[in-house]
Symmetry: C2
Subunit: 249 residues, 2 copies
Amino acid sequence: MSLDHLPRHQGGADALARLLGQALLAGSWQPGEVFPRELDLCKHFEVSRNQVRNALASLTATGLIERTAGRGTRVCQISDWHLLDPLMSEWLAGLEAPDPKLVREIFAFRYSAEPVVASLAANAAVAADIAAIEQAFDGMRITASAQQAARHVEYDLAFHEAIYRASHNLVWRQMGHLLRPSIMALIQHSQHSVATLDDSLVRHGRVLAAIRAGQPQAAERAAREVLKRTAIDLGIVAEAADTLPSNER
Amino acid sequence: MSLDHLPRHQGGADALARLLGQALLAGSWQPGEVFPRELDLCKHFEVSRNQVRNALASLTATGLIERTAGRGTRVCQISDWHLLDPLMSEWLAGLEAPDPKLVREIFAFRYSAEPVVASLAANAAVAADIAAIEQAFDGMRITASAQQAARHVEYDLAFHEAIYRASHNLVWRQMGHLLRPSIMALIQHSQHSVATLDDSLVRHGRVLAAIRAGQPQAAERAAREVLKRTAIDLGIVAEAADTLPSNER
DNA sequence: GCTTGCTAAAATGTCAGACATTTAATAGGC
DNA sequence: GCCTATTAAATGTCTGACATTTTAGCAAGC
C-alpha cells in the first residue's frame, strides 16, 4: 500500500502521528506489510525527518508498527496493538468508519467488564462520584433528541466514565479511555428514535439508582441491561434478539 | 528531589527511560514536582541530549511526566499514569520494592476482573488454549519448591496469561501485561511454605479443570479462590481472614 | 500603589547535515 | 554449491545552531 491517497496535513508531529495511526487503524496497511520509509514520508508530507521520526515513535509506542535498523518498518499484528493506550482510543474515536471487528471486540470487553465496574462503584462511590454520574445523566435527559445526538453522546460518555472513576481503582479508571471509541461509534449508527432513546435513558437511570443506593448486584444487572440496549444501537445484535454478544469457541 | 543518588547507567535511551521510570514509580519525585532539566540529565548520565529526549519521550507516553516548552518538566499525578502500558508493567515488575499501594490497586483490579476472564475463557477456549494453560500448570507443579521460586513464578505468570489469551478478546489479552508486576511481587513476599504452595496448586488446578470442562461459573468461582490464596501470599490480607480486598467507601 | 507592557532569561521544541550501525542482497572466489 | 566480502539501504545517533514558549523582573504610566 502506498501513501498516495493520504492528504497533506497541517500541525506538528502529533497531527502526523494521528493521521498515520488512523490510516493504520482503518486498515490501509496489512499486518506484516512494510511501512513507507522515513525519507519517503518526509517528501510526501513535506516535513522534516525529525517530525517523521517523532510521529513514528508514537506509532511504535502504541504497538502499531515495529522498527528495526537496516530492516525497515513493518506493521504489527492486530493482537499486538495497545488498544488500552489513550492515544489509541483517541485515534480510534476520531475515525469515520472504524473497523467493525474492533468495535465489536471493544464492546464485548465492555459487556463483560462494565457490570463488574458498576458493582464496584456501588460499593465505593462517595457523594462526589454520585453527583458526577447524576450530572451526566441529567445532561443525557436534556439532550435526548435526534437533533442533539452529538451532545447526547458526550453526556453518555461522561456517564460511563464517571462510573469507572467511581470504582476508585486506578486500573479501572485508566480503562475509561476505551469508552470513547465505543460510544462515539453510536453516532454512526444513529438510528436514535425517540423510543430507543427513552428506553436507553430508563436503563441508565436504573444504574444510577442502584449505585446511589449502594446495591452492587442491582448495579451489575442494570449495567448489563444498558449494554444490551447499546448492543442493539451499535448494530451488534438485532433488535429482538435476546442473545448476547459472547466469544464463541 | 535531585538525581544525585541515581547510578550511572549503560545502554541506550531505553535503559535510561527504564532507570528514570522506575525511579518515578518508586516515588523518588512527588507528583507536581519539577523534573530535572534535559541538560542536567545529559551532564549527570554523560549521554547526548538525543538520548535524554528519547527517554523523556517514553516517560511522557506513559503519562509519568508532562512537558511544556518554556515551563519545564513536571511529574504527573498517579491517577494519570498509564498503568496499562506494557512498558509500565515491565518497569514496575523490575522494581525491588514496588509501592505497596500500587500492588494493592493492581491486585484489587485482578480480584474483580480475573473471575470474569476465567469465565470467558471457559466459554471461548479451544484445544490450543487449554494445552497452553495445562503446560504452564505442569511447570508450576514441577517447580513447586522454595528453591525454584523464580522459575515457579514464571510458570504462574504463564498460567494466568494463558487464561487471558483464552478469552479470545483483544482487550482482555492486552491486559495480561498487568500480571507481571502483580505476580513478580510474590517473590518478595516469599513465605512459600510447602503447604501454601500445595494449596495454591490445587486451586490453580480447579481453574484449569473448569475451563477444560467449559463451565464458566465454576471457572469464575475457582479463579476467585486462586486470588484469595494469592492475596494471602502477597500479604494483602491476613492468613485466616475470610474477608476480601475491596474498595471501601 | 497598581496595572500594563517590554525585555531578558531559561526551558523545551525543531531543524539540518553528517555519520554510525544494522540488515539484507549481491557478487566473487574456492 | 557454499562461504565470504562487498555494497546498498534502511534506521539510529550525534552535534550545533536556532525557534518558540513561558516565566519573572523591571520600568513606565495612569
